[in-house]
């Protein structure tokens, strides 16, 4: 394994995000969006070959599909039917880990994918809706990917609409413990975080090359727990970059973070 010296920030994020799935065992990895999907696919190809994955339509795959248009003679490695109704049987079994990109993430790790601003009856901006976030968040582990780390996403106060449960004592359902909530990694263009600080406070796990803890705090609308020693996010290996390139032959990853910056900031 040789550490690469020339890689993009997107590739760094893919590798860092793939770590979220490394110790999951045999669960369905669902990465929504190019970087989360490549992260899950990279993990399935390298660190956790027991992972399960769908083709994002209706089949389970024993090998992740490359992203984007594929050659006419491409044969996907199907292993079972997995239509949407059956996805929920998997979700509610807990044997799944999803990585998604909500519009807001508050200090409790609650997220919003729906109404922004205004009132709920008449929101200023209507996004997708709650989608599967409520069920995902109470049923199985979840991670987040945020391509642009700023205090609009990591906002002060509570989410305008809470799509997914977090570590908020005021909303804890009867008979549940905060520890039942299982938010894993939060990967952004600046750093990797988790909710492993005191009382489930958001915590800095690693800083991408050239980023400071102060920068992370300045772009987060609530206090980030910053340990005494914060490592630099591990560089992709040459081998990982080759797997990523094969999984993303049209280089869609280059479109995911503004201006596609290098992994090592100047």
């Amino acid at each position: 394994m040789t550490a690469a010296t020339d890689y993009t920030l997107a590739e760094l994020c893919i590798v860092a995000a793939s770590q979220a799935f490394a110790n999951d065992g045999e669960v369905l990895a669902t990465g929504i969006g190019v970087i989360p999907r490549l992260a899950a696919s990279l993990a399935m190809k390298t660190s956790n070959t027991d992972l399960m994955m769908t083709d994002s339509e209706a089949w389970m795959l024993s090998e992740p599909n490359p992203i984007g248009n594929r050659p006419a003679d491409f044969v996907p490695a199907l292993e079972s039917w997995m239509g949407f109704s059956r996805i929920f049987d998997n979700v509610w079994s807990g044997k799944r880990h999803a990585m998604l990109g909500p519009t807001q993430i508050d200090r409790f790790g609650q997220s919003n994918t729906s109404a922004l601003g205004g009132t709920y009856e008449k929101p200023k901006t209507m996004m997708l809706g709650a989608r599967g976030f409520p069920g995902n968040s109470i049923s199985h582990p979840n991670s987040f990917f945020v391509p642009e780390h700023n205090s609009r996403v990591f906002m002060d106060g509570e989410c305008d609409f809470v799509s997914s449960i977090g570590y908020n004592p005021a909303r804890l359902p009867k008979g549940h413990k905060l520890d039942d909530v299982d938010i894993r990694l939060v990967i952004t263009n600046l750093c990797v975080m988790d909710f492993g600080g005191p009382n489930h406070q958001i915590r800095l796990v690693s800083l991408h090359p050239g980023v400071t803890a102060e920068q992370v705090q300045q772009n987060t609308g609530y206090p980030v727990h910053i340990p005494a020693e914060v490592p630099v996010t591990a560089a992709p290996t040459v081998e990982q970059l080759a797997v990523i390139a094969a999984l993303d032959p049209h280089n869609q990853r280059a479109q995911q973070i503004k201006d596609n910056p290098p992994g090592i900031r100047a």
Binding site: S85, G129, F161, V181
Partner: protein, 291 residues
């Protein structure tokens, strides 16, 4: 029993204020020709239950909708549905916003004739806090609280399938039938448009019969409309119409708005609509999407 009918006959069965389920998912296998027939009618005050796409957006834009029961309304490759957003952002519609899986449970409860299904889905989130109609209850078996997802009883469901016979045997040969079987079972009346009408003997082949997801007793009416899912997809026959959806989305920012879209495309009949979008051959030649 011959259940064949026309889209106009289906819409004549619908009444103001009804709760109507619409099958499919986002931009996929939506009964759009039946939706268009509603757009041409004077129906109003509908409650729509849907894994929503342009079906929901168009009905909102046309002022047909009182309330939407939804987990999302999205065109997938274009994440945000412009006319649903307009309806939400202007406060024009009531909503019951729930999780995708809660909708499945609500349909199942209705199908099974039970008032609710307990689940932990929704706990700790605003799908409970913003929905006074959804109760959280104690369990007789443990010390936890549970969401009592209420039955989503439908007055009618509208679905689109690939093939059906006149007796209401419906086949979905595409890779996913989504929740259409539950929409069929949850509704008092289920009206199904199909791309192709086939003889009953077609289903004698077990490989074909395997792709029938509910019994014909759950089908009220069958409406043959080739290309009837357009601009949504009907895999494996045709994909969704990306340029058409882009024009639809763009219309929301144009002066004429949805009326401009309708003037250009809707027509007085499905035949006119198909002529306006380039004809059935053009619909049938739209490539399937790659995910």
């Amino acid at each position: 029993m011959n259940k064949q009918m026309t889209a106009a006959q289906v819409v004549a069965q619908l009444k103001d204020g009804m709760t109507i389920g619409i099958g499919g998912w986002g931009p996929r296998r939506k009964p759009m020709a039946l939706v268009r027939e509603i757009l041409r009618s004077d129906l109003k005050d509908l409650t729509i239950v849907s894994y929503g796409g342009a079906d929901v957006g168009m009905l909102c834009a046309a002022g047909k909708v009182k309330k939407v029961v939804f987990a999302f309304v999205s065109l997938d490759f274009i994440p945000l549905e412009p006319y649903f957003r307009e309806a939400r952002q202007s406060g024009a519609i009531d909503v019951m916003e729930i999780d995708e899986g809660m909708m499945l449970l609500g349909l199942r409860a209705a199908a099974w004739g039970i008032p609710f299904i307990p689940t932990e889905v929704g706990l700790g989130t605003d799908v409970i806090n913003k929905n006074s109609a959804i109760k959280v209850i104690d369990s007789p078996y443990d010390d936890k609280e549970w969401v009592a997802m209420p039955a989503l009883k439908l007055d009618a469901s509208l679905l689109h399938v690939d093939k059906a016979d006149v007796r209401g045997v419906c086949q979905i040969a595409g890779p996913d039938h989504y929740m259409d079987d539950w929409f069929a079972r949850a509704a008092a009346k289920t009206y199904v448009s199909c791309d192709e009408l086939v003889e009953t003997a077609y289903f004698h082949d077990p490989a074909q019969a395997r792709m029938v997801h509910w019994e014909r007793s759950a089908t009220t009416g069958v409406v043959p409309i080739a290309g009837g899912a357009h601009p949504s997809s009907c895999s494996p026959l045709y994909g969704f119409d990306v340029p058409h959806f882009k024009a639809y989305v763009a219309s929301a920012k144009e002066e004429g708005g949805f009326k401009g879209y309708c003037d250009k495309f809707l027509g007085a009949s499905e035949a006119e609509y198909q002529k306006n979008v380039g004809g059935l051959d053009a619909i049938r030649s739209i490539a399937l999407p790659t995910y």
